[in-house]
Symmetry: C2
Subunit: 384 residues, 2 copies
Amino acid sequence: MFNFQYYNPVRIVFGKGAIKELSALVDKSSKVLLLYGGGSIKKNGVYDQIIEALQGVRLAEFSGIEPNPQYSTCMQAVELAKQERIDFLLAAGGGSVLDAVKFIAAAIKFPGKEPWDILSKGAKVSSAVPLGSVLTLPATGSEMNTNAVISRQETGQKLAMSSRYVYPVFSILDPETTYSLPERQVANGIVDAFVHVMEQYMTYDVNAPLQDRFAESILMTLVEQGHNVMKNPNDYETRANIMWAATMALNGLIAVGVPQDWTTHMIGHELTALFGIDHARTLAIVMPAVWQHQRAVKGPKLAQYARRVWGVQTKNDEQAIDAAISKTKKFFAGLNVPVRLSDEKLTPEQCRPAAEQLGKRNVSLGEHGAITAKEVMEILELAR
Amino acid sequence: MFNFQYYNPVRIVFGKGAIKELSALVDKSSKVLLLYGGGSIKKNGVYDQIIEALQGVRLAEFSGIEPNPQYSTCMQAVELAKQERIDFLLAAGGGSVLDAVKFIAAAIKFPGKEPWDILSKGAKVSSAVPLGSVLTLPATGSEMNTNAVISRQETGQKLAMSSRYVYPVFSILDPETTYSLPERQVANGIVDAFVHVMEQYMTYDVNAPLQDRFAESILMTLVEQGHNVMKNPNDYETRANIMWAATMALNGLIAVGVPQDWTTHMIGHELTALFGIDHARTLAIVMPAVWQHQRAVKGPKLAQYARRVWGVQTKNDEQAIDAAISKTKKFFAGLNVPVRLSDEKLTPEQCRPAAEQLGKRNVSLGEHGAITAKEVMEILELAR
């Protein structure tokens, strides 16, 4: 196990009716900016619950945060927050809204001229407006981590930031708010959380058995509950288990003391930036190809995964690795999520700009830094 | 799954050489009181590492905190801290030192006359002196939770408190500090952590599969690494895995949204208060008897535990339950820890005051509150 630090001060408020706890969580003297997306929270009752819980609190609103939130949209919210002298941001929505609000929180306090530098140049974040969240889509883990991913249409970029200053003070998770999600978003969320676990698990062994087993616990739960939700979308317990698993998938817990490999996400972000494919769908297409390409490096862990998560019995490691890949693809396909580029009517050749974009940034992906633009193109070829 | 809140802001600093991080973690302007036990930290180098890391910080010391820390000792430290105008407490040791320091932190700020009221009457804690810890004995989880257990020899009492104000600001876990522990303390620590998991897991099913699997992950890791440490006590990775598993066993994570049953601890505390038996040893004696007594209530989870943690194959639940109990006792015995009262030269009759003490406090133990003094006596009979 590597040396590590673990620190996660987010207060999780989980369960039926949890939104009413807002009245105890938000300081009555604050001026709050409520931020949300396209208005689904007005249809599913979440907006009304928030307004009721915040009676007596001075409130402004900013709506229209899009999936793959845009820098230009975020900067409009920054302007509004400054004008209104906001001192608390409340995000209501899924990972896109939460990511946007985290970036906005940092951008409001950013002393430089151009907050885009936080994303493009890793400019230092040294404070942020405090924020909280009401999560309505289990997927990204944004409700309990320091990460945000923001896109910029003009340049075709999709870039990430991380800062401890943007930890939500609290995140409210009421599984009932997820009933009204379209099936496609539910499935995407499960795949996203599943791949988050994999990026922290599917590397080489460092003798960290508890981290491995925690990761496998989340994977098994997502597989089991993913099947359940397709059959019984209105089962509360199923929704609750998916929601908690997605949060645990990316709150830092399973990452402690182990190597990580975010190759799938890095390639996936480029495909979303180029073609607008849903984030989770890019991951489902790319990850099996990464495993195939890296099977020499990831072999022992792939075999362990096949045996522990899928109950594969064979003693032959190569067969176990094949099973790991095929069972994972079958799981994704069972959620009606594409598992190859051709499912999205794309060829590897059309995706070459993704590899080139990563090449321009001189990235070295993989747990050993051995995946460059050339290998990315080979991976895209395997995802054909 | 039940509704829940989860909040744990403790910063964990984990790994080889981690004590030197103290210099970054402690505010240079503080006046720090370093508290420890019988002086083992002077023999194993931990004391020297702390002093070196805190060069330039004003420091006072209080030593002599005993196992099952005594109220009278804690109150001496409270006096010293007040005299010296201490504004940060640093605990160096195992769970007893940490528990004592948490209580001391609350007692210094307690507005009432008698801080014992915090333990005996649940008097409200509304502030505490900030504290940090350097953990040298993986066992109690005190390094990452809000709990403390304090004893009072005059009255034969051993009582618990819990307050969010006594969360350590940070806890430093260097597995190398555990090499010098006597084998008995290592074994006790593993049993203590194992039983902590059980008190949050071995109840009835509430459809919380991730919490179950996380609990089972910790149990499997403790079994595996417990065997390893008896054979290779100087293996760093083994020590690291035990240390991390013991922290995760009682930091609130596996308790979210599920019922708990602390019967074993409640009875165990009375046996320690009466006879001075090591805390973990009381647990190892009591828990199998609790399971036997409660096998109708805990049956399905006992069978799940047998199958998932011990790989028991039988489809017969009663056989699986028998295996759960016998394999657990064998595991404890393999760590040279007693599993029945007679191993400690005690009879159930001699232990009757334990049941009576619980009866006086009108406790209703068990996940359904159905275990009263009468059932406690029956359990002690089964532990003969």
